[in-house]
Symmetry: C2
Subunit: 256 residues, 2 copies
Amino acid sequence: MRIITANVNGLRSAARKGFFDWLEGCGADVVCLQEVRASAAQVEEVGGKPPGWHVYQREAEKPGYSGVAIYSREPAREVVDHFNCAEFDAEGRYVEARFDGLRVVSAYLPSGSSGPERQAAKYRFLDEFALHLDKLARGRDEVVLCGDWNIAHTPIDICNDKGNRRNSGFLPAERGWLTEVLGRGWVDAFRQLYPAEEPGGYTWWSNRGQAFAKNVGWRIDYQLVTTGLAARLTRAEVYKAQRFSDHAPLIVDYAD
Amino acid sequence: MRIITANVNGLRSAARKGFFDWLEGCGADVVCLQEVRASAAQVEEVGGKPPGWHVYQREAEKPGYSGVAIYSREPAREVVDHFNCAEFDAEGRYVEARFDGLRVVSAYLPSGSSGPERQAAKYRFLDEFALHLDKLARGRDEVVLCGDWNIAHTPIDICNDKGNRRNSGFLPAERGWLTEVLGRGWVDAFRQLYPAEEPGGYTWWSNRGQAFAKNVGWRIDYQLVTTGLAARLTRAEVYKAQRFSDHAPLIVDYAD
DNA sequence: CTTACGAGG
DNA sequence: CCTCTTAAG
């Protein structure tokens, strides 16, 4: 089973860069997207409803903002497009597809980098989301939590750790929150497979300067999985051969 | 003497399309621009203050909106960047460069096509501007009134005359106003040289559809000149070899 | 720097 | 349809 997560920073922009051509041959069973920034109708207009895929989407109320989606080869038994948090459900940050014994989530955590107001919103999200993750972890189904978490966990998850200690996305409180989550039954799929890696596995590079060319990146896109799935991990890869967005897709394979 | 008028629809955009390369070799003594849509500093950033040219500019108060400029090989004796009409002077629609016995004006008349409010503004402009044109005509200097007038004068000045009789830019009241102006001492340079021409000489084509490819255009950019200059007209050309904008430059030569 | 939106044309 | 704005990232 192959699951991919990707922040596309505008699915219409990603489509222009060949995202849907790549999707066709990527071998995934489920693909989770964040920052779709388009309505279902707009997604359809750019070839975003390809045959052979089921598409489950949650838009933000504000047009062109945020938005998540799940593309699945198999139809979901059930789809839930919120986590019962009015403020952030209105921002289109959560969609969950339920299959037989498996739930796949596409989540887009707020960025706090635009200022203190959005950082405060990010902390509100983290509080609410932690409660929801606890509920998911206590359920019977295995779960893959895909998403752009907008948090780099440890110094090996970011290029310039010292310079970013006071920047949103690498603040001690954010990193501590993620450590807490990982202590409550969730496993970071990429890090489980490559625990002793040198700094790397980055999934995001700023558009400013030559960040991608110089690999000045952050690992902020994750698949967190329940322990049953962690035991089935076989491979993880950050796909950098094509650029669809300022983020790179994270591809994770699980033994069937 | 060669004088050129061009609505550049964003001078920064036109610069990306090679406008300043073309300017260097265009042979003009004076070039009048409309819809500059950039501040003097922004113009400078994109190479808009080339050596060998004097640049006289009037910005709108609203950033990125309207704005006119005059590029001149010779320095002006005097520059006036308004026509004493508070409403439209604030919109950056008039700049006049005064030379020995000659005044060159770059004027950008309002478009009314976005709705009744802007059409009403256009009529207010026409009323005020007519008074100003009368003053200019009564002066001692010869005058070249360059600009985007946002009015096609007669059926041979527009591709689809019947279909546009009720559209802003070809309304009877607008066309009548222009006829009035031409009756008070101003000569339409292009039409003076090519009076019996078939429909054509268009200077603007919609960006929608294939208007340029199909030559579905409007002649709305003019040089209106005082009678002394009308006698010196030698040549007029709409420059279509390169596209800097949805408008084409109008090049007019006057005997020295 | 890039993607969206909305105004204006 | 295109070029600007601003907000957001």
